[in-house]
Symmetry: D2
């Protein structure tokens, strides 16, 4: 039984609390949040303890592993403190607001045998991971062209965009990791930004984008992003190789199809909410983390994966502004 | 080049005239119809000759093959006259209004080396014939359960129903042949009729039905019929065997799928009109007939197939009334 | 919080124990099983108490509701004892081995305000219940033809068949309830049995069947059953009405489609195991039961539904033997 | 009845000859080809006249319209001569090898009331044109992101690549026109080339590419190209707007789906050959041309469309080499 602490009682902290509850080998011990009411509410729900300070989690000897759900600017500190306190750490994405902030983290943790995993939950989505397995088995040969359609159902509040680091860091970061999951290290980034939604015009951020990533072998990933999608959370992936192709379709609530005089076999909208869409991904992520703690498999995605995705995001921002490919 | 005559310038005669026009090895020579205007109109369209009397077709030495599109009660006579005149004959379904009318036809034609093919066009539909080929290749093992969904877009005029012989002879006859195409001779028929459409209540005929056919090996075909279908001409087939299953889906005008806030990947209604839905089936049927005339392959489906389907239709009528299985 | 006892620690008892564990308003208090090791194992897993005798469950004042997972011949007794002890009872299907055994149950329980629900879990499957909701909303008009394809991945052990009451009681019973869910009371049953699997020839039972059910309005349900299916647990339903049709497709582990040189967009086999396939159905069933206990909604499906499905199963057996429709 | 001449008896000339044969309002009068045997063979097939010189077509008073299927470097000359001879001209794509060659064509033809249509057949594909119609009807709002997957089943011979002008001119040219069909004039092109096939390494051409086009409104088209695709001719399009999305799936020979123990609902490979895949597109293109000649509708796509697509192809080549966006 792995005993967990959670730093941050916000939406994503709640997701992890629920996964811990459902996992037979996991137990939630304590939650910290500066807003004690938030921590207390979650603690009550799962019979855990609420604290205000993160160190109270790290110093708790009854806790084996910590899930860092604090605001992004605190991630590096919390990873570092967690590792130094001997905890296994699962940290939410992105690892930091910019790569400078994280430049020295790996060095700093050297010697501590860091057991850190980054919360790129989509690697654990049953659809994407099944495709990854089939690729590993040689089903389509080497992936030559990866195409990711990734659209949010609706734009986040402007206040969020103001502090999130922008579309490449708050949204595409997942797709950058997915590209790396399939293609390995990325060497070149070309990004074309779009401003489609007049309501978001004054954010100074793009609300849609096309990004093309290339690895050293010349294989590419094309990412199509938008901050809105009328049909729901549009999350598809297509891996193309010399022997075939693999497609992950969107997820719907049921398999029901409906026919009338006007149309046939219409399906339901896509699942709308990321927690619902990726519910099993979060659970599988936790399960992988637990198994790594127990010595089966590694802590992957790692700090390195977190940094690499962040650097791609920075390069994408630069490319979208300068108008040309940016090398990594 | 096979030179054709057509008996009957109605809707189905027009279909065959068009197939002949499109076939590089076929030429239309003459069309007969008691309504000379109808014959003339079709003749003009394809540079052929119009006559009023069927014998003028049979006695025309410039004609190699005849397509019989006359009213059903005349089919037996026209087959017989055509064969005796040395023509190859393709006759529309059903072969007769009742099996008595056709009881002596095979005997009568003995000695004439009859080259007769019955117009069960659906055997030549690319979807159904592809499934038949895969079954022949052992893809799913022996067919254990065949399920046919066969619904017309809308009921025919009541005047048609009054003379058509009823749903089992005018509509299900195709499905009976399809069942025989996959299961061979049928030994037992159970039919359950339905009266759903109040407008058709006074026809004395069913407007929907479920029919279960069984062959000597205990394999079954289940047919689901309706005289209406809001989404178009609903024509599906599913062959199930110990090693797998094969499905023929409906045919649509395009592959387009449409997503909105309310639904996703809605397809178009099914093709509505039988001539459009089975256009390639009619062409392939003609092509098979021509190849049989040229000595490649046999004249199949045959007179026997026409009679066998008719007997199943009669048994179905009996079963639906008496309420139990009828043996053949 | 509803406190539960479970009678029977077999496979289906385990399913319910797990649903109780996952439900935030449910708590498992005790499990009874004559094989105490089985009860103990399950009890340990969920921090509950193990007993050997069912009465120890019924007499336990810390228990509000009982789930009856005992062998079918004991269901009536356990329902009766549960109700008389003041418990809410959720009883697995079928309600009894024959309708005689249950003939007096409703009378017997009169005056006890029985809070009994029958475990026809498929009504709670998200796909089927979504179709039911759309039908209720008038999406396709009245259901005129319901078509259920229901095939098990593989036949159960012969020993099971020997005591199960046969295919109509152990397997089709679910489909009979589904037909009633959509069409209401069934008035006529026609069943055609098949013996396809030589290994099951000596069971004296059919291993496949087609059953046609009719209600008083002439609406029909057609059920296609088989004890085997190479592609997995084949569970589909199609509701057809004057304004359209609704389809529930099979459930797969992922949305992944695979294309090669030989085929395109191949999907995975259907989920194979009933517990996996109907996992959310079992959970939703429990949730409905809990809500009924709490006064929201009714205890449905009811004892009456259990008896009605059983009577259809008996009529189907009679029809398959006698060869004709059996009225109810 | 429109009387046609064809310049060039190669593969694409044969396609048009066949469409003319099938069209009730078209008649093929003569075919020219320097290889008289090729012209003669096609002429014999359709009862037309064979000549070696293009002017014999242009000067033929029995000819109303000319389809130019000569080698690309001759297109401009043949368009010009055809127009000056008073013929309506349908010219195959691309309009020229480079935009310089065509720079003065529009000026040159001023005053001649040129009736010229460019053979961008894909605009007439039933799938793509249906989506275009739905977009025009406002089904999804303005197209914000168009995504085109366009892969050939196999690379052409190297000799072809050596003279074709390269992937952007011989293959993507169709996709550039499709982008313009949906987005109008393109103002910026970013292309990322790939070299995946070692056999094609010495052609000096890319064998795969990602191209992103932008219009003045900031709407984008993303094109994913490859010279090979194991599953056949991969031709898909997705139009995304604020109110929904429209998808054109690949075309297969049948609707058949196949299930086994290993996979379910596998479809057939995509149609492999462009003539088969776009058969109805070529027919519809001819029909549009005929209707324009008869005064219904305009000659579109026009010379301007041919030049615009060519300029995008040139810009794409420049971008792929220089590594940055190229403005138009």
């Amino acid at each position: 039984m792995i005993r967990f602490g959670i730093i941050g009682a916000g939406r994503i902290g709640q997701v992890h609390a629920r996964s811990i509850f459902q996992h037979p080998e996991a137990k939630l011990v304590a939650i910290s949040d500066p807003v004690i009411e938030a921590a207390q509410k979650l603690a009550d729900q799962y019979d855990a303890k609420a604290v205000t300070e993160a160190p109270d989690i790290f110093n708790n000897e009854d806790i084996d592993a910590v899930i860092v759900c604090s605001p992004t600017p605190l991630h590096v500190t919390h990873i570092s403190e967690g590792v130094k306190a001997g905890k296994a750490v699962l940290c939410e994405k992105p690892i930091a607001m910019d790569s400078e902030a994280v430049a020295t983290l790996e060095d700093e943790l050297e010697g501590f045998n860091p057991r850190v995993m980054l919360g790129f939950n989509r690697r654990f989505d049953p659809n994407f991971s099944h495709i990854h397995n089939l690729v590993d088995q040689g089903h389509i040969g080497d992936v030559e062209q990866l195409t990711i359609i990734s659209r949010d159902p609706a734009a986040p509040p402007k206040e969020y965009i103001a502090v999130s680091g922008g579309i490449f860091k708050d949204m595409t970061i997942h797709d950058f990791d997915m590209a790396r999951f399939f293609l390995g290290e990325i060497t070149e980034v070309t990004a074309i930004g779009q401003n489609l939604d007049p309501d978001l015009a004054d954010t100074g951020d793009f609300d849609a984008a096309i990004i093309v990533l290339k690895n050293a072998d010349g294989k590419v990933a094309t990412i199509v992003n938008s901050r809105h999608c009328a049909s729901g959370y549009d999350q598809r992936l297509e891996a193309f190789g010399p022997k075939g192709a693999l497609f992950a379709d969107n997820v719907r609530a049921t398999t029901v199809r409906s026919s009338t005089a006007d149309y046939t076999e219409a399906q339901q909208p896509y699942l709308d909410f990321f927690l619902e869409r990726y519910e099993s991904a979060y659970y599988n992520e936790l399960d992988t983390f637990i198994r790594a703690i127990e010595g089966e498999g590694s802590f992957a995605p790692s700090i390195h994966d977190g940094i690499a995705a962040l650097k791609i995001a920075e390069a994408a921002g630069e490319s979208a502004k300068s108008g040309g490919p940016v090398s990594l």
